[in-house]
């Protein structure tokens, strides 16, 4: 087999004079008024192989550049040309990385189902489908490697370059196909094509803005700075995804293998590049789904424009805006969202009587489910409920053959769910931290103690026990919140504007029949049932008790609801046999109606639109600043104007910069605050409860000061950060003698201060004694520290744990509601 045989499913063109003649004839036939053609000629034989080899070599050079320059660590404060080069390299990396994901999927399909099956798929379905399959395989491989402790650069480079090298024949085929398409290209201007051209221009524009604002500009928000990023860093540092001190992220982020791969290949800013690849896949799925169900390329392209465009600025409703909004490309939520969209898309194709390319669709569906389980375990339940609905429906209709497909996928989801829970339990003693209250009677506390996170687990249990629904079930607030879980706060104008079209079509039997003709039942049921599933999961999952987190997570509704809105728009436009003049009049009226409704909505929402506009201006200006090199990475992190829920200092608290310089790279720095962000290179800032305080927490908190200091020193915890202007919320350290406001001056000293922020360490020649100004500010901050009031309970719990350390079993926590049968703590001893 030659490289040329492995082209992207296209048929080879006739070459030489014959090919030229055929092309000219074809162009003449397609020619319309106002268009002209330029004949370029077919690509020379095997030039495509050379091009493919050059492209693969370019990838190797790109990785070598990232490795040699290491701009993130060495150029963090640089401006100008160096920044432009760096950003350019990152842009180049995105399609390369996407290709390595896609090619693995293509290879798996080619091996499993052969070329003929693959050829049944049009290219606009094949690329996203194979990407999803490839993502699943990559995630499984990276997860296994991570568990084995091989998340290291040589392995990552070998895997990625190996994939790229093996994909050269396939790449050559795609290059040839592209070259042949270009050789037949014509520079055309046809009046009837201007709409499509306009849409392509809109896609290019929104994609560029999206890339600059979300794909390249560093950010991520409060949670990302405090724990997501810290976990990613820890994996790269240790080469392992096994439980570490960024403790609860073991349950959330250990499956983000492609993030780790990207970070190993480039630098710690890679996660947003990886998600950009997925967003491109998401846009392709939106296009493919709409095109298949509406048969309208224009509506499909409109869907892509909206999908990318509305994702550029994602503040969410007011409450969520204050908490940082959503649509954060550095988190795994967006990967899961694309994969859930792929599940809906695959369901639309697979769960029907007659389908083509059954194998590739099935592989993609199962790959997406496996990826979802690895990335966000609770969402496997959502996928399971979604698939169960199809099983029940087809079983009810006695279509057993079709019912077997969602059933098989549901089995995969169940296996993944139990496997991941088992893995969690094996390594940590807890199946999932989200169910810490429900699972408490079954926890393996010996493992928890061995991990050193007993304090954090107990406090998480207390926090989860007190969690209550934010609004009554039967209330308008609940309706609004649930609507936001479907992202209706974004897409409702389309639904409302499309409603008059649909109502208009109900006027006669003929129009109703026409409307029915355009109604793709399978697409409607796939998308509609997904919306219902989301509501069900929100009702019985965390939708009522953790509204902010669930809203951020429910980014998976964004694309399906968009598709549903555009499908409604589609059924409003019924095919009718009328004269051209009456059609023109009708279209004009419909357009006027649509524009009037949309204009009315816009005018009613002027304050919102103005807020968006006012915030988008600095966001775009900053994105341009980084792209042109006016900003350094440091500047970019400190300039988050326009983004919701951010401080004026962005992701780098000014008071932390000098302590970061003093303590050095990758040195533990315990902060008493959750807002002292330190997104500087190799800044190992830690705070309660994102990071584990100490495996010897009982000694530190309740032992003698000497023993506590010895334990902390042994763990490499020698630096502590306090700022007089930041609140201390729930840090347990001040419970101890060492850090109590009354005694801290005896045990610690000031290594550095700017009069507001303090770097404390053990007294030595470089330190100054703690003064009265610090003590007063510290004591005032500790009065707000909620952990100080629960100290008594914690001491008793600690004593109980010590007493039973050789036979540790779940016990009756004072706030526990399902611990009645467990051994109690003697509170009066």
């Amino acid at each position: 087999m030659t490289a040329c045989d492995l082209e992207c499913g296209g048929r080879p063109l006739a070459r030489g004079p014959e090919g030229r003649r055929m092309t000219e004839v074809a162009l003449r036939e397609r020619n319309v008024a106002g268009s002209f053609a330029i004949y370029v000629g077919p690509m020379r034989r095997c030039t495509h192989v050379a091009v493919a080899i050059c492209l693969a070599a370019g990838y190797a050079l790109l990785l070598a550049w990232f490795n040699r320059v290491d701009f993130y660590h060495h150029g963090f404060f640089a401006h100008g040309r160096a920044v432009r080069q760096y950003e350019f390299a990152r842009v180049i990396f995105i399609p390369y990385f996407a290709w390595t994901i896609y090619s693995v999927g293509a290879f798996a399909n080619w091996i499993s189902f052969g070329r003929e099956t693959i050829d049944e798929l049009p290219s606009w379905e094949r690329y996203p489908l194979f990407f999803v399959a490839g993502a699943g395989l990559w995630h499984v491989v990276m997860f296994t490697i991570g568990l084995a402790g091989f998340d290291i650069k040589p392995v990552a480079v070998a895997l990625s370059l190996g994939t790229m090298s093996l994909s050269v024949p396939h790449l050559a085929g795609c290059v040839r196909r592209l070259g042949d398409t270009m050789s037949r290209a014509r520079i055309a201007f046809a009046v009837r094509r201007w709409q499509a051209s306009l849409l392509w221009v809109a896609i290019a524009t929104t994609s560029t803005i999206f890339l600059l604002v979300k794909g390249l500009y560093p950010g991520g928000g409060h949670d990302y700075y405090n724990h997501y990023f810290q976990f990613y860093r820890r994996v790269i540092q240790t080469g392992s995804i096994l439980p570490n001190d960024v403790w609860y992220h073991f349950y959330y982020s250990k499956g983000a293998g492609l993030y780790f791969l990207g970070m190993l290949l480039t630098d710690p800013l890679a996660p947003q590049l990886v998600t950009t690849c997925f967003m491109a896949c998401g846009a392709s799925v939106v296009y493919a789904l709409l095109r298949r169900s509406t048969r309208s390329p224009s509506l499909s392209l409109t869907g892509v424009v909206l999908y990318i465009g509305a994702f550029i600025y994602t503040p969410g409703p007011h409450e969520n805006m204050q908490n940082g909004g959503w649509g954060i490309l550095q988190k795994v939520h967006e990967l899961t969202a694309v994969l859930l969209l792929a599940v809906v898309w695959a369901a639309y194709h697979l769960f029907r009587d007659k389908t083509t390319a059954l194998g590739p669709w099935t592989l993609a569906l199962h790959a997406a489910i496996v990826s979802i389980a690895l990335l966000t375990l609770p969402l496997t339940l959502l996928a399971g409920v979604y698939l169960t609905g199809f099983v029940v429906w087809f079983a009810f209709r006695r279509k057993w053959r079709v019912a077997a497909r969602p059933f098989a996928a549901g089995v995969t989801a169940a296996i993944c769910l139990f496997s991941m829970a088992a893995i969690n339990y094996h390594y940590t003693g807890i199946p999932s931290d989200q169910g810490v209250v429900q699972f408490w009677p079954f926890l393996d506390l010996t493992k928890v103690a061995g991990w050193g996170t007993m304090l954090e687990v107990i406090m998480a249990h207390q926090g989860a026990t007190g969690r209550q629904p934010t609004a009554p079930l039967m209330s308008w607030d609940t309706v609004v919140v649930f609507a936001s879980y479907l992202r209706l706060e974004i897409w409702w104008p389309i639904l409302v504007a499309a409603a008059p079209f649909t109502i208009l079509q109900l006027r006669s039997k003929t129009t109703r029949a026409g409307m029915h003709e355009r109604f793709d039942t399978l697409a409607w049921s796939a998308l509609g049932w997904f919306a219902v599933t989301v509501i069900l999961v929100a009702l019985f999952g965390g939708g009522r008790s953790q509204a902010i987190s669930f809203y951020r997570l429910s980014t998976f509704s964004y694309a399906p609801t968009l598709c549903l809105s555009l499908l409604l728009y589609n059924v409003g436009l019924v095919r009718e046999s009328r004269t051209p003049s009456s059609m023109r009049l009708r279209n004009l009226l419909l357009t006027l109606l649509f524009a009037t409704v949309l204009g009315g909505i816009a005018i009613l929402n002027l304050p919102v639109i103005r807020t968006v506009r006012d915030n988008l201006a600095p966001i775009l200006s900053n994105a341009k600043g980084l792209a042109t090199g006016r900003f350094s990475l440091f500047d970019a992190y400190q300039n988050e104007q326009g983004w919701p829920g951010t401080w004026s200092f962005g992701a780098i608290y000014p008071g932390i910069i000098e302590p970061w310089r003093i303590v050095g790279p990758n040195t533990r720095l315990w902060s008493f605050h959750i807002w002292s962000y330190c997104m500087l290179p190799a800044c190992d800032i830690q705070e309660y409860e994102s990071e584990r305080l100490s495996p010897s927490w009982q000694t530190v908190l309740f032992g003698s000061p000497e023993a506590g200091i010895k334990a902390l020193k042994a763990e490499g915890l020698n630096y502590f950060f306090f700022s007089a202007e930041l609140q201390v919320r729930n840090d347990p350290l001040p419970i101890s003698h060492i850090f109590s406001p009354d005694e801290i001056a005896k045990h610690l000293a000031v290594r550095w201060t700017d009069g507001t922020s303090y770097l404390l360490t053990w007294p030595n020649d470089d330190t100054q004694p703690i003064d009265r100004k610090f003590l007063e500010a510290y004591a005032a901050a500790m009065r707000e520290n909620t952990m100080m009031t629960g100290a008594f309970d914690l001491k008793k719990i600690s004593d109980y744990l010590k007493l039973h350390q050789h036979d540790l079993r779940p016990f009756d926590l004072p706030w526990c509601t399902n611990c009645q049968s467990m051994p109690p703590i003697d509170w009066h001893s």
Binding site: M583, L598, L606, R613, Q638, P644, P654, L726, G755, R772
Partner: protein
């Protein structure tokens, strides 16, 4: 029909884009979060290690402030100025509800300590300020250095908009009747710029309250 449909979509898209352009360039609004960074002014020749100019004041006109009691600055809800406003000797703007902004890069505050007990004396008194700090994205920090005469006594670096901070009066024996005149140097004071284009004041800190702790 397909072509008609596509044309309709195209027209709609153009309409939406035109509407978007109109809304984008229509008059700026005061609603929503303030996006703009303040305009950074050159710091000038004076640095935090050089003393600010000595304030001119009349000792007899300085108000007496009780140690331990918090005094307020600005105006009350009826717009009536608080009586201790005249402790702000120079470099301060007009009284507003919520406090008084510093004006420019130097400001001075002075008062005479009143202490009922004869035993109340201290060599490390703290002067607690509370109020608002002008920090915006792109200008995330305000540094305040405090001087007594030619001697720098303390500094504070603030990044949170609502601040409560202390200045140590090191080396000053504070007791009943001691006059305290503090010069504040504010190198990061800026004009608000786009955030509030009609206000050309160079601001850093809005004092709302003061308390002397012996």
């Amino acid at each position: 029909m397909q072509r008609q449909f596509e044309r309709a979509i195209g027209i709609i898209l153009v309409a939406v884009m035109l509407l978007g352009i109109y809304l984008w360039f229509s008059s700026p609004s005061s609603q929503g979060p303030s996006p703009a960074a303040g305009r950074s002014e050159p710091v000038g020749q004076q640095t935090s290690s050089e003393p600010p100019p000595e304030p001119r004041y009349d000792l007899t006109s300085l108000p007496k402030i009780e140690a331990g009691a918090r005094v307020e600055f600005g105006t009350d809800k009826y717009g009536i100025p608080f009586e201790f406003n005249h402790a702000l000797i120079s470099g301060w703007s007009v009284p507003e509800p919520g406090g008084i902004w510093t004006l420019g890069k130097n400001a001075a505050i002075g008062f005479v300590v009143r202490c009922a007990s004869a035993a109340c004396t201290s060599d490390d008194a703290l002067l607690w300020f509370d109020g608002q700090i002008y920090v915006v994205p792109g200008h995330p920090r305000q540094t305040i250095t405090a001087w007594i005469g030619n001697r720098k006594v303390d500094e504070a670096s603030l990044s949170m908009p609502y601040a409560k901070f202390a200045i140590k009066l090191i080396g000053l024996n504070v007791k009943d009747g001691t006059p305290i005149v503090l010069s504040l140097h504010l190198p990061d004071a800026i004009v608000q710029g786009k955030a509030n284009p009609t206000d050309h004041r160079e601001i850093a800190f809005r004092i709302a309250g003061l308390r002397l702790e012996l």
